[in-house]
């Protein structure tokens, strides 16, 4: 079974329905990345393992080869009629799950990580900009202050992308606007590996950024990000993880992780389905719900109290709606003009 270090699941209150539904089955269609990504898929898997332990459910999972196979997988689950809940993962499953859901109106379908409004499907999404914004704030503060041991004089940070997918670009904007919110003059470098499983290239790209003065790099690059951590170690600079808590990968160099608790989201869907609280329709889940955010747990990099204070303050502002991260590159300049932490 796939391991997933550092993606501990915080228990959601499962109520007392666990005992009665011991025979319930849940099926999940993972993404094309498949298990072993130490991230999205592994976290979802862990959520279900947790659910199996806590709620005594059984679960099945499939790893599609390609996007085109999603429909077949959903249909195979639905046709068997054995599943209390069929879970999907990722925005690119929206078409497929909608198609099958329309054929099986009685079946409960939940799609995690999609904001689409699909009939008969419950969609739960997190906001990428919320996920990376706070790490952006940390980077923005620390690259300017230069207080941390391995930070430098220059006011430069970076983001490394796996592939330039539209949704990931929102993650880039979250980080970038986070940096600029506290440090408008900072330069944010951006580059794409072109692959989610090429750590060697990821490292080269990170090195190119460190060479150009960056001292903090946020990766959104799957396994290619492992190369970013390696570069950080080699160059004595800093990096941010993404998804599940990655701080343990290089605790002296990874400042924090832009967390997304897919495991909790998946776990929650199971709970809702078992408790008959499941209703179709889109539901957002963000900083407020604790589905995303930053985590410094496991990192040996000690942030100053003032930094933590500012980050927490910003977090609170987003939660209560006072602040909205910037979403697109086109809006960035105007957004920076209007949103500044230090007036």
């Amino acid at each position: 079974t796939p391991a997933s270090e550092g993606t501990a699941v915080e228990k959601v209150d499962a109520g007392d329905s666990a005992g009665e539904t011991s025979s319930s089955r849940v099926g999940i269609v993972l993404t094309t990345g498949g298990l072993g990504d130490k991230n999205f898929n592994d976290m979802a898997y862990d959520g279900l393992v947790q659910a199996k332990e806590d709620l005594a459910i059984e679960f099945d999972y499939v790893e599609p080869k390609v996007v085109s196979d999603y429909v077949s997988h959903f249909r195979m689950y639905a046709e068997s009629g054995e599943y209390e809940l069929i879970l999907g993962l990722g925005a690119d499953q929206a078409d497929a799950i909608a198609e099958v859901a329309s054929e099986f109106p009685e079946q409960k379908f939940s799609l995690v990580d999609s904001a689409a409004d699909l009939s008969g499907v419950r969609t739960v999404y997190t906001d990428w900009t919320h996920q990376t914004f706070l790490c952006g704030v940390i980077a923005g503060l620390e690259t300017k202050a230069g207080n941390l041991e391995n930070a430098n004089e220059e006011n430069v940070v970076g983001v490394v992308l796996g592939m330039e997918y539209p949704i990931l670009l929102e993650g880039v904007m979250g980080f970038t606007s986070g940096v600029k919110y506290v440090n408008p003059d900072a330069e944010v470098l951006q580059a794409t590996v072109g692959d989610f499983s090429d750590p060697a290239k990821g490292k080269e790209i990170a090195l190119s950024m460190y060479n150009r003065g960056a001292d903090f790099i946020q990766h959104i690059a799957g396994a290619s990000g492992l190369g970013v951590f390696n570069a950080a170690k080699e160059e004595n600079r800093y990096a941010f993880g993404v998804g599940g808590n990655q701080n343990h990968n290089a605790p002296d160099y990874i400042v924090a992780t832009s967390i997304r608790n897919v495991n909790e989201m998946v776990y929650n869907e199971v709970v809702l389905a078992l408790e008959d609280k499941w209703v179709p329709g889109p539901t957002g889940s963000g900083l407020k719900e604790g589905s995303v955010g930053y985590s410094v747990e496991g990192s040996n990099v000690v942030l100053s109290e003032s930094t933590i204070k500012i980050v927490e303050e910003v977090k609170a502002m987003i939660i209560n709606g006072e602040l909205q991260p910037c979403r697109t590159i086109e809006e960035l300049d105007a957004w920076v003009g209007n949103n500044q932490y230090f007036q």
């Binding site: 499939v62 390609v66 085109s68 925005a91 078409d95 330039e164 997918y165 539209p166 072109g194």
Partner: protein, 368 residues
Amino acid sequence: MESRARIKALLKKLMNRKVMISVLALVMAMVTSGIIIKLSGYSPVEAIMAIFEGAFNGKSAIARTLVQATPLILSGLAFTVAQKAQLINLGVEGQLYLGALATAMVGSMDLGVPGGLHLIFAILVGMLVGGLYAGIVGVMKVRFGSNEVIATIMLNSIAILVANYFVSGPWKAVGSVTGQTEKVLDQVRLARLIPHTQLTLAIAVAIISCLIMKWFFDHTVPGYEIKVVGQNKTAAKVAGIQTGKIVILSMLLSGAIGGLAGGLHVLGVDGRFITGFSPGYGFSGIAVAALGAGSPIGVIVSGLIFGVIRSGSMLLDLKTDIPLTYADVVQALVIIFVATPMLITEMIHKSKRVVSAMNPSSKKGEES
């Protein structure tokens, strides 16, 4: 009595050497993967049962198998066609990508033409784009003597990157968070043969394409010329065949078939171009072509076999704890064993020797 003789004759024809070896190779691959599965602590019987159930049990399973087979048959055909002219088209993947993108774009535009026409037009544009893209390789080969292996590998990467650029940028579907084009119009979608499955006429198109290509090579002048150029370029030149044109023609044809594979996938399965829609169909096509032993008819059979493995492994994935990686291992082993007919013949010989050693009276059989 007569019909019995006819059946016998037919059986004899079916049981020719080529087919026997392919079948034995499949069996060998199954046995070997069974051993690997067993050694890793899973049940091989369970695995094979799941694969067969997933591929054949019920209408929707069979439909799924055929859907999986479609792009594989066409990619295999594309590779085979180029191979007839002794060209190694490792670029089917790129041709398929661009063909799919072109078909998706044409299919999603409202051209104000009736559905049937629009559909055919969309497919033809896909084929044209795939063909022209492969044609670049042909021209480079003829004009500069460029090695087609290099050119196709490079063009693959370029095609995929450029397609990804378009569908994540200028041609991205409005509001989409992933790299994909708009949905094609309903009128250009291929009709589903069985409701609630993805089975469309695409499979028929794939099979007919193979038949056409077989006919093309056996009975037409350009087909003949391609074979001549492939087998002996100098003799072709001496015979007044314009070898350059033929090389380009073969690449165009091969690429067009690749483009067709992509286009049909868009119109039949996804309804749009989606980044990363191909799990390397182009490369699997090489394996399909290998199993098909250079024959378009063989490509149909081998495409179906790979379809069975892929479709069956979906149920394997769902029903058992056996990781999907085993299905990949099975596929790779099938390719290797099928490509190794000498291994099979050697084993037949050895087993014969063993049998005759155990049973001296049967020694006569060895002579024949």
